[in-house]
Amino acid sequence: MKLTGARIFLECLKREGVDVLFGLPGGAVLPIYDALYDFAGLRHILVRQEAAAGHAAEGYARTTGKVGVALVTSGPAATNLVTALQDAYMDSIPIVAFTGQVPTHLIGNDAFQEADNVGITRPCTKHNFLVKDGKDLGSTIKEAFYLAATGRPGPVHVDLPKDVLVKEWPFEYPDKIHLRSYNPTYDGHPGQIKKAARAILKAKRPVLYVGGGVISSDASEEVRRLAEMTQTPVTTTLMGLGAFPSDHPLSLEMLGMHGTYYANMAVHQSDCLIAVGARFDDRVTGKVEMFAPNAEIIHIDIDPSSISKNIQVHIPIVGDCRRVLARLIKEIEAETQQGVPSLAREARKQWHDQIARWKAEFPLRYDWDDEVIKPQYVIQEISNLTRGEALIVTGVGQHQMWAAQYYRFKHPRAWCTSGGLGTMGYGLPTAMGVQAAHPDKLVVNIDGDGSFQMNSQELATVYESRLPVKTVIINNGCHGMVRQWQEIIYKERYCSIDLSSGPDFVKLAEAYGCVGIRATKPSEVVPALEKAFATPGPIVVDMVVDREENVFPMVPAGGANKDMILERPGKEAKAKAAKSQTGF
């Protein structure tokens, strides 16, 4: 059977089970859009800027576990997409991005809308392909989906020259593929797992440190079982939120730069740290020499290059988090058949008492104000009203950290945030992708006024494509996180942070056909949110909040996690923080 390249492309997507495609047409991919005109069974969502297509694919992938797909044209479209690719790469999100390319005979000619797409995306994808021969189209697409979804997931980019799409080729879609150079390890080494089991059982102050790998390998059940059977407290990274319920008695919530006091202290004092699907990012560790200095570190990760990259690990286990944890649980069961020694039981009790004291001493807190809305309060009310059942997406900045701290997470795959790359503008387009994958669920985009403006044009997409995303803008009229750093570390020399000139987000929402709601007083917060969640269609809530509120705890970059700043520092403390960061 002979088909055009464009048709082959669509047939391949169908066979991969793709139901939604996020894209924006242009010259080089016109053959695909022409074939799409009467192709059944594939929903195309027209975004307004190409990065949004990539982020939407990420949102789709994170919340479903399936591969997200974006399709854009050549040149500027491909370069716009790069941010989303790098974002997906750093957070290990499986997406396949297709870009158009000028016809093969023009490649390298500086043709119209030409860019070296594969050259540009090479360092920000797991792998990429340029299809030069239509005979390879089917197998390349198969490989792209396979690579994106297996091993450590990640973005894969396929560049499609226009002539390959126009010409007819024999269509064959391989059922299976074998890549001789790509064999991820899924099962952990049994000897190492046994070692880890023994280390956990003899530990007096163990902590589970859980990251995004637990979400992508669907291992949260195993984490919970391991935590409960060994009575080990659990802290999650920003990417791991939802892997363990925030309200569980063993939960320490998030660790790191803006983590809780008790999570950071517990990690600091632990004698056995079990890292699962986490990569010891600098925002988590702070000063590496001072990170869990007394702990025997067990590291479970599917990517060998993550192990001993930042921190020397004592018991490395390469493998899929779920499989390794299942095996580890069995080992522990076998080891404890005669029961847990009373000594260990006593030690655990002391450890839990210590943690309870930390929790009582320095819980997450903020000062209430009757007149000005506190941003933390908005998040708490979103959490209450949705009972932790909503799918939450955030932008990047203070609001993101407050969302991470104050939202009560219940389920995995219900939280999308740009962790590694910290991409402002991530919120709305990602929420679109989440909503497209879950048309009947409540999707809340908690955004910042700065972050939201980086992709606010996508209000047109959510309106046109009937994606009822509820955006709540934590509007403090400035780039809040930058303001916070300038206040604490740069001696209150506020530079280029002011956004108070607008726009009027209610009017902006209305201009796109969406509903806009504003709240300026604490008493208006709940009614505004209730209205937003009850009204059909896309909504923007403009929450005008305290401009000067800061995210605490805070560990200045490169500092030790135990030296958290817990509340607005006085003059002396600021001078000290400034000196540690700027040297003067």
């Binding site: 090479r122 690579l147 590496v288 990517d303 290059s305």
Partner: protein, 197 residues
């Protein structure tokens, strides 16, 4: 990461898919992480779909561990072997164009003879020599020729292979189902324990 080991030169053999873009993936890996490649040579193996790279990298134990892991992580990389840890032969070839005045021509030829270098081009004013050897030998001949005035020098970069009858990387190639040639028996046992040319 904290590390106390001394930086050391490592020779790493890498089998890769013989496809376009592979070299730039490997080079990109080094530039993106700020690691420095001292030398790199690439060529086809017995299996035309597989190329073999020989990389020389300087780094402490931590850097080298990351280099090897990151190389493995590249989808087009089939096998990575650090030859430094085992007994191996390393060779590099240089072509050097050296000033050859009538008074010095005989001396240059004598040096060439000692190093088993070949004269591959002659002009009334220059000799072009071809020399092969490990790093110290190549460095030595360059240093001896330097006083005569070296006009131009080109080196291939290092290639390396493990000593012994076992072919570590060949077996990897064979596993891929492509290479069928028999491995010749080692007739000269002396070669196995360190024959130097």
């Amino acid at each position: 990461m904290q590390n106390n080991s001394e930086p050391q030169k490592h020779t790493i053999a890498v089998l890769v898919e013989n496809r376009f873009g592979v070299l730039s993936r490997v080079a990109g890996l080094f530039s993106a992480r700020g690691y420095n490649i001292e030398s790199l040579s690439v060529g086809e193996t017995l299996d035309p779909t597989v190329s073999r790279m020989t990389l020389v990298v300087r780094g402490d134990a931590f850097v080298i561990e990351q280099v090897i892991k990151q190389l493995h992580k590249l989808i087009d990389v089939i096998k990575v072997t650090d030859l430094t840890e085992e007994n191996h032969v390393e060779r590099e070839m240089i072509l050097v164009k050296v000033n050859a005045e009538p008074t010095s021509r005989a001396e240059i030829l004598r040096i060439a003879d000692i190093f088993r270098a070949k004269v591959v081009d002659v002009t009334p004013a220059t000799y072009t020599l071809e020399a092969t050897g490990d790093e110290s030998k190549v460095t030595a001949i360059v240093e001896l020729l330097r006083p005569f005035g070296i006009q131009e020098l080109v080196r291939t970069g290092k290639v390396a292979i493990a000593r012994g009858a076992k072919a570590r990387l060949r077996r990897a190639e064979e596993k891929l189902g492509k290479v069928r040639e028999p491995v010749p028996e080692s007739r000269d046992a002396a070669r196995d324990i360190g024959f130097e040319d």
